[in-house]
Symmetry: C2
Subunit: 153 residues, 2 copies
């Protein structure tokens, strides 16, 4: 058994270390940069013997994740603050306990445009492919739409 | 993309139907009965192409799940109210965003001893075995310990 107690004041789990979202990469391809994102591992298949992984991600004010796509899907449940997600050709608002499914090979990025932290749980298959940048057609389509353009940078 | 918006007042997701926890079974084996539990499917592999399933379970006041074990593991995150879990030979309290891992073949039961609903997210592998009742040794050990006895019924 493993019991991770949650501290609402700190919005953190006892014994769960804060990790970098990804290794820093100054030469990241177009759109693959990110800002002020932390990762917290709540359940990892190497430790717990299951086929999935559960992470908590948190974006500080002004933070954003990399704009990427991959064959594996995401199932996200917002738990802290308010945020926004670009998924495919849409932008959606996320409030606590909203659930969001990101299909395979669909470009996506999370962004925090508010003044408080935005956090969400994200479950993925343990066996999964690496994220890749968008191709030119995908990039151009996002840039051409005023709704999505602010998230293609 | 699939966006399930959450209604905090109703504590429900738009478009997600409330299902029975399990089919009623008047001849359930010892400990396998349950009371006032609902199930809400937030992400199912048949629809979403992933190797795991995400459910929300809710126990009304006085509710409890079946006392069971199985080879697949559970990863639970409490989200509503307060509850209690019997896992193996321990009983733990759960408050919102506490995370709990139930290892393989470990007897477990959730219970709501409060006056308000108790709800949690639970992720499981899509490919998993059926729950089974406890054997006599497991049952007797739970009954012999005053901490766990109230949950072995």
């Amino acid at each position: 058994m493993r019991h991770l107690t949650f501290d609402p004041a700190a919005f953190r789990w006892a014994g769960v270390e804060e990790r970098a979202y990804k290794p820093p990469d100054p030469s990241a391809p177009r759109g693959m940069d990110w800002r002020d994102v932390t990762r917290h591992r709540l359940g990892h298949p190497d430790e717990l013997g299951m086929g999935f992984e559960l992470r908590y991600f948190e974006l500080g004010p002004g933070g954003y994740s990399s704009l990427e796509k991959h064959a594996h899907v995401h199932l996200v449940v917002a738990v802290r603050g308010a945020g926004r997600a670009l998924v495919g050709d849409r932008v959606v608002d996320l409030a606590p306990l909203d659930a969001l499914y990101v299909p395979a090979l669909t470009p996506h990025r999370w962004a925090n445009e508010g003044a408080d932290p935005f956090g969400f749980l994200c479950t993925v298959d343990a066996d999964r492919d690496r994220p890749v940048p968008l191709d030119d057609d995908e990039w151009d389509a996002l840039r051409a739409d005023p709704v999505t353009a602010p998230y293609a940078h």
